[in-house]
Amino acid sequence: MFRASKLVLAHFWVAFVAFLAAACLGEWQMFVRSPLSPWIANPEHYYRSVTAHGTVMGYVLPTLVAMGFGYATCELALKRALTGLRWAWAGFWLVIAGTAMAAATVGAGKASVLYTFYPPMIASPFYYLGVVLVVVGSWIWVAIMGVNVYAWKRENPGRTVPLAMYGNVAGAFLWFWTSLGAALEILLLILPAAFGWTDTINAGLARVFFSWTLHAIVYFWLVPAYVAFYTIFPRAIGGRLYSDAMGRVAFALFLVFSMPIGIHHLFADPQVGAGFKFVHATMTAMVSVPTFLTVFTIVATAEVAARLRGGRGLFGWVKALPWDEPMMLALAFSFVMLGFGGAGGLINMSYQLNETVHNTQWVTGHFHLIFAGAIVIMYFMIAYDLWPALTRCAPLPRGAIKAQLWLWFVGMLVLTLPWHWVGLLGMPRRMAYYDYADPALAAQAWTVTASTIGGALVLASVALFVGILATARRGVAAPAPYTFARPVHEAPVPRALNGFGLWVAMMVVLTVVNYGYPIAQLASLKDASVPVIPIGTR
């Protein structure tokens, strides 16, 4: 049945090996700027490392995991062979080629612009072309996801698309529209400058284009984790999903509200007026709705399962949950980090409070906690959960998995909570070193050491994760039938929640409304074009 298992494994392996390498870089960065190490001799090496770390963690890891999980879902949830297997391999090789091209360029020191690009700094064109190849490869995946769900619907008229597939297709459509912002920035503004066809660039406009991608990409990262919450977690704890319809509502709302909010990254920027900043702030409040709904549904799912296992009392049922099950542990860790990270996010997106923390170390703490913490821990669980179906391996060692999850959770908190704290004290980000001899910074030195220790725990966790997958004994077990969770009440869902037309239309319209004017205004400003700054040698 599982025709695409090789394809999925290829995606996962490249993702996780790149992940391990990027985690090593991250820990090196923490160490080299901590009081444990003397000042780095060449700060450029630090920024080279930051660029590689961000590019892998932001583009390569989540894209490959989403692609692999999406293909697996096509076969496992729709129970039909994947349509477009050859195209899928083509997309995979494009991602590989792009990753290799970008990595080589960054490694050679010709692209130390960070994964957020920051024009007017302009790197070697091969870096941007590498990123473009990764994105184009992923667009093939978007098309394949659409084709497969469409084919299934034609073969199964009147039936409800399985929730796992619904969520992954929503993530695919979201990604296509999300990646368009950065694609426009690269194609229209950056590449002409990188190739030397023009000497100036509109940095303000470039930032607005990038903000279109920069926030919504987070929801693309998050969708596989939410699909795991809704469709793997309930089954793994021996229960059923509380509400299938609410899962669909959450994915649909992510489609609608992910894009028209990116300008909240630009609250402190001079090139966007207060009006659009306010509109984007309000819409950002709306995008917390699907997460609030998800937390309720998943906690209710856990409560129902716990009460069926004999749990009693207002909170006493928590004790009756299957804590021995790695998925239970992972979900609890994920929700704790989602809670901290989400609360921090509400502060960031606040029209006023943002000024206190804008672009400080707080922000680094926030997105590591919510992406690496709450989301990547579910990537681990997706891999662990699919591994027996993918490789016919013997059951994975539960003790090692739980140790890996604990290391990740404790490491992430020790890494990110000090960042939040010093962010409030005004510590800036992306510093290759700090002058701890300055009395104002001396008092903050211990926090960098603490984060270095947290990073070491995280790195140990990543190594253990890759080790568990690599040492799984392949081909020894019969292929276990893979199932997604079933809902408690299998009720038919409204038509709108079985398709994407309405939500995609709202997504496009809201984006055009919320970005159209700022983009048109900035594009028409003459003074806004500034000389480019070549990075490395062109």
């Binding site: 930032r207 001079p270 966007v272 209710a300 800036p428 980000r429 300055d438 700054i533």
Partner: protein, 189 residues
């Protein structure tokens, strides 16, 4: 789990619990937005709000960002304005002087890459994008010296780009700021 056959009563209970929660969520969001609106309008607490451009190619030669005009200005009507320029890898001037408990308007821009700054533990925090003038008004409650790092990656020397801000008691500031000169605390000036 034996609830495979949907019991309508149970489904109804589940659905109404879900609906109650949805109402609470909408209320939370409404309160958040209301707080934003009220503080925005009533305290005039807003992020930088206007789009103003400046030609980076000539800003050091003419206009308000020429070197002699950088620093802190005390206007005849008592308004305090700080003008500064960021470039790879320093601020001009490197040491700013501002009065405590007084509205201070910052006007700043960049001549090359994207920069930004945050003043110590205060809310004075902005991005500096070349081609645009960042303007915001704030006031400082505590006197003393604060660090002012560049907080946006601007190239290989980013980590060395730090300035200082001296917040003086209002009277001391007023006694120093006389005439048309621009105040700063750069040594030797």
């Amino acid at each position: 789990m034996s609830a495979a056959a949907p019991s309508h009563a149970a489904a109804h209970v589940a659905e109404s619990a879900e609906r109650r929660w949805a109402i609470i969520v909408v209320a939370i969001v409404a309160v958040l937005v209301a707080i934003t609106v009220v503080t925005g309008l009533h305290w005039a607490a807003m992020p930088p709000s206007r789009v103003e451009t400046v030609d980076v190619k000539t800003l050091h030669l003419k206009g308000e960002f020429v070197e002699s005009n950088l620093g802190t200005e005390l206007a005849a009507d008592g308004k305090v304005t700080v003008r500064l320029v960021a470039q790879q890898y320093s601020f001009q001037p490197q040491c700013l002087v501002v009065p405590a408990d007084t509205p201070v308007t910052f006007r700043a821009t960049s001549t090359d890459a994207i920069h930004g700054f945050v003043v110590g533990t205060t809310n004075a925090n902005t991005m500096l994008v070349p081609g645009f003038v960042a303007t915001f008004t704030t006031s400082f409650r505590k006197t003393g010296e604060q660090l002012m790092p560049c907080h946006e990656y601007c190239g290989t020397g980013h980590e060395a780009m730090w300035a200082r801000v001296q917040v003086l008691p209002r009277d001391e500031f007023l006694s120093k700021a006389r005439g048309a000169e621009r105040l700063s605390c750069v040594p030797g000036k």
